[in-house]
């Protein structure tokens, strides 16, 4: 049994230690906000926070995050300022990649409250949006950081 802290709550996990965190979140805990997109840490759809840092949960064995604080998009309840900015800027199209984009953006803004375009591009370099919402993502982050 592995003990984890997820969204402020202690959880006991039955999965094998090498199971990637993504499948533990989605199937054992029913937290489906993080998505499966590639399984190899290339698309960012599975992004969650481990101690405030954006990580790819599809490539993170659950065993490796014991004792950390894990945050998923469900913790934000749709009311986080970044989520509000996402609605204001009408960002998503299909929406599948957006929880991951939002998680990386929240982590970016915690580190750099007034990010430049270059900061944004760097922070989101590990994400793919097939619908092409990148310009609106930049606009939403600027808005959330009071730069727009």
């Amino acid at each position: 049994m592995i003990r984890l802290t997820i969204n402020g709550r202690a959880k006991t996990i039955a999965a094998d230690p090498d199971t990637p965190l993504l499948w533990v979140l989605r199937e054992e805990l029913g937290l489906t906000g993080a998505k499966y997109g590639c399984g190899i840490g290339q698309c960012g759809a599975c992004t969650v926070h481990v101690d405030g840092v954006a990580v790819r949960s599809c490539a993170t064995p659950v065993d490796s995050v014991k004792g950390t604080k894990i945050t998923t998009i469900e913790a934000f309840g749709g009311t986080h300022p970044v989520q509000q900015a996402w609605i204001e800027a009408q960002v998503p199209q299909c929406g599948y990649c957006q929880p991951g984009m939002i998680m990386s953006s929240v982590a970016l803004l915690a580190e750099k409250p007034k990010p430049t375009n270059a900061d944004i591009d760097e922070a989101l370099a590990g994400h793919i949006c097939r619908c092409g919402t990148y310009p609106r993502i930049r606009a939403a982050i600027k808005r959330a950081s009071g730069q727009a």
Binding site: K35, G78, C94
Partner: protein, 711 residues
């Protein structure tokens, strides 16, 4: 209890998460007399007891914003606040089908979402409004002409009496739908043509929208497909025990192309599929390569067997009498759709009927396939369309249907059948590779005297069209898409196609054949202009001098992009114009190359789609279309070796990322008042050439092959 569960499965749809978030239970009934008492006034319009409206749309919302436009159309005609309107895709039914019998079908594509459904949905909502008004007239004992519908109620202004839609629905449903309802005048339309907020966005941002991949049914198991990576390949045999060793694996079931590993979780199913010993059946496709396909395409460019799409004047004579003939060959690769949600669906055979939930873009195609595989009559199949994580044409192919149905029928319990990313890309039907030879002849004064376009390559319709609808040597409309109706006026012309059908299965990819034909034509126009020493935009103007509508679009884009002024230091601008799906689109791309690195700074689009029903939704489609087109033009190619695609995931199939996205995308509408055109696809084709033309200026070498990064 069993009967009761079955009844719930049959009579309800749409999922709500249960308190635990682990199991999604069912809610929201479909039709009149359902448990929540929703009353149907029309196939599109259903009234809830509280008077709010639920719309059944003919279209799948893949993120293109169509559902928002449909909500606006219905809210406007009915007279209700758009916030009181909800929407989902309806189940296959005649009211949702497009086309003429026997080819009527329900599906999402061709950028038809608003341009086709605007009028039928307006009419349906107007019928519902008149039925509500007739019911109110009866109740109040007044003439219908003294009543108006507004804010979700029917109002008798003279007496101040008001009846809500909820209270009127039951009696309204008994009224005969008027054959010719009166549509509201434009001045009364509050939502159409205004800046709307997309109805599907809040749930996507909060991550509460359940994609098929997020849905869980009670008792559901997971089936991961392991399929022969060779196109159209099959399995010879497999060793079940090899997969059963993995904890949580329950079974391995043979399916077309391979096997499905069934397990208690998707992770266990994936691990089981990984562990499964499977022997692939040798096939003649095992040796197939992109080089072989490319050679066939090149041979087709000069071959004498071709199907003519359009010809006029005398091309042969023009070439014979020409002082100069320019002949250049172009080629584009196979492309993957690669939507972010890999294929998955949920199937439950209840013993009397079958339920199918999935990210479906071609409902009738899927329904027929499910019926053929399951042996259920279509009326005993309930096809639930779930908003997909991306479409772009990938959800048109029903390759994921047979395996899912076979496993569900073998197990008689709900099954989520899914592909890994690698499988999704390996078996995904592709935008065909295609080649073209373009020729132009000139007299001694460098006047253009003729042109011809020969396309050559695999036929999308041979794979995707109805079986038997196309044979070798036929003209595939996709390969000559938007050439026959091209507006450039060159009296001596010939456009034809030589089918060279080999390679992976192919299917429509956003904007289909226009994606390559715009590249061929619009790059060639720039090459012609270079030979004539003319500005490429001026050449286009002269070839479109007879066509004010086309001129208005290119002139708008020229002005907005500052075409007549010098580009900023180190940058070059490329122009392109192409018409597809009923819309005219001009684009300018501003790009630079520094230390070998191509960078797109700015893209300006001018689109004439007649009129714009949902402006921000349309801008969003232009932005996405521009980026998807740039992504393909810059870096995307699926290469075939040993019968399979060698790009198996996003580490090798290169999709444009945020750092390579233009910092400025300007979307402009030219409102011509012409019949509504499409929006989702028309901005895609011209961007390939606008970029290539900018790159040609920067390098001094024409771009004739894509993707740019691999040449």
């Amino acid at each position: 209890l069993k009967e009761r569960i079955m009844a719930i499965n049959l009579n309800r749809r749409s999922f709500l998460a249960s308190a635990s978030g682990l199991v999604v239970a069912v809610a929201i009934p479909v039709d009149a007399a359902g448990p929540s008492g929703m009353t149907s006034l029309h196939a599109y319009v259903h009234i809830k007891p509280n008077g709010s409206v639920h719309v059944h749309s003919p279209v799948t919302e893949c993120g293109q914003g169509t559902h928002t436009a449909h909500c606006a159309i219905v809210a406007d005609e009915l007279g209700i606040d758009i916030a009181s309107v909800s929407i989902e895709t309806g189940m296959p039914a005649d009211a949702f089908r497009r086309g003429t019998a026997p080819n009527k079908s329900m599906g999402t594509g061709g950028s038809w979402g608003v341009r086709h459904w605007y009028e039928p949905m307006r009419k349906g909502a107007a019928q519902a409004r008149e039925m509500l008004i007739a019911a109110a007239a009866q109740k109040l004992g007044v003439e219908a002409s003294t009543l108006i519908a507004q804010s979700g109620a029917v109002v008798h202004a003279a007496s101040g009496r008001t009846l809500g839609f909820g209270a009127l629905a039951a009696s309204a449903a008994k009224m005969t739908p008027p054959e010719n309802p009166v549509l509201r005048p434009k001045s009364e339309l509050k939502y159409s043509r205004s800046e709307l907020r997309r109805v599907d966005i809040p749930a996507k941002v909060a991550a509460t929208h359940k994609y098929t991949s997020d849905m869980v049914l009670p008792g559901m198991v997971y089936a991961c497909a392991k399929l022969n990576p060779v196109y159209r390949g099959e399995a010879e045999s497999f060793n079940k025990a090899s997969a059963l060793k993995v904890k949580g694996v329950l079974d391995v079931i043979a399916i077309p192309g391979g096997a499905a590993v069934v397990a208690r979780s998707s992770w266990a199913a994936m691990q089981g599929a990984e562990a499964l010993d499977i022997v692939w059946k040798p096939s003649k496709a095992d040796a197939l390569s992109s080089a072989e396909i490319s050679a066939a395409i090149k041979e087709g460019l000069g071959a004498s067997d071709s199907a003519i799409a359009r010809q006029g004047g005398d091309v042969t004579g023009s070439i014979k009498n020409a002082t100069t003939v320019i002949s250049v060959d172009y080629e584009v690769p196979y492309l993957l759709h690669a939507p972010m949600e890999p294929w998955n669906c949920i199937v439950h055979d209840t013993g009397r009927s079958l339920d199918f939930w999935g990210p479906v873009q071609a409902q009738d195609r899927f329904l027929s396939r499910i019926a053929a595989v399951s042996k259920y009559a279509p009326e005993n199949i309930r096809l639930h369309t779930v908003m997909p994580g991306g479409g772009f044409g990938r959800r048109l192919s029903d390759d994921g249907v047979p395996g899912a149905v076979i496993v569900a029928q073998a197990l008689k319990r709900p099954v989520k059948f899914f592909y890994t990313r690698e499988t999704d890309l390996a078996v995904g039907w592709l935008r065909p590779a295609q080649g073209a030879r373009l020729q132009a002849s000139f007299d001694a004064a460098k006047n253009l005297t003729s042109w011809s376009i020969r396309t050559s390559g695999p036929s999308m319709r041979m794979d995707f069209g109805a079986p038997g609808s196309m044979k070798v040597g036929d003209l595939d409309g996709a390969s000559v898409q938007n050439l026959s109706d091209i507006r450039y006026k060159i009296p001596n012309h010939k456009f034809d196609y030589a089918m060279r059908h080999l390679g992976p299965p192919t299917a429509p990819w956003r904007a289909v054949g226009a994606t390559h034909n715009a590249f061929f034509v619009e790059c060639f126009i720039d090459e012609i202009a270079a030979f004539m020493a003319k500005d490429p935009l001026e050449l286009r103007r002269s070839l479109l001098a007879h066509d004010p509508r086309a001129l208005a679009v290119i002139n708008d884009c020229a002005a907005a992009s500052g075409w007549s002024t010098a580009a900023p230091q180190g940058r070059a601008r490329g122009f392109s114009y192409f018409e597809s799906y009923g819309s005219l689109c001009a684009q300018v791309v501003e790009a630079s190359i520094t230390d070998g690195k191509l960078r797109v700074h700015k893209v300006i689009t001018s689109l004439d789609c007649g009129d714009v029903i949902s402006p921000d939704g349309a801008r969003s489609q232009i932005e996405g279309g521009v980026i998807q087109g740039l992504s393909a033009a810059i870096g995307e190619a699926l290469t075939v070796e040993k019968g399979r695609g060698i790009q198996t995931n996003f580490d090798s199939y290169s999709i444009l990322r945020i750092g390579d996205a233009p910092t400025e995308i300007i979307s402009r509408f030219v409102i011509s008042g012409a019949p509504l055109g499409g929006v989702g696809e028309p901005p895609v084709p011209p961007v390939f050439a606008a970029l290539a033309n900018a790159v040609s200026k920067l390098t001094g070498k024409p771009v004739r092959k894509l993707p740019i990064n691999e040449v």
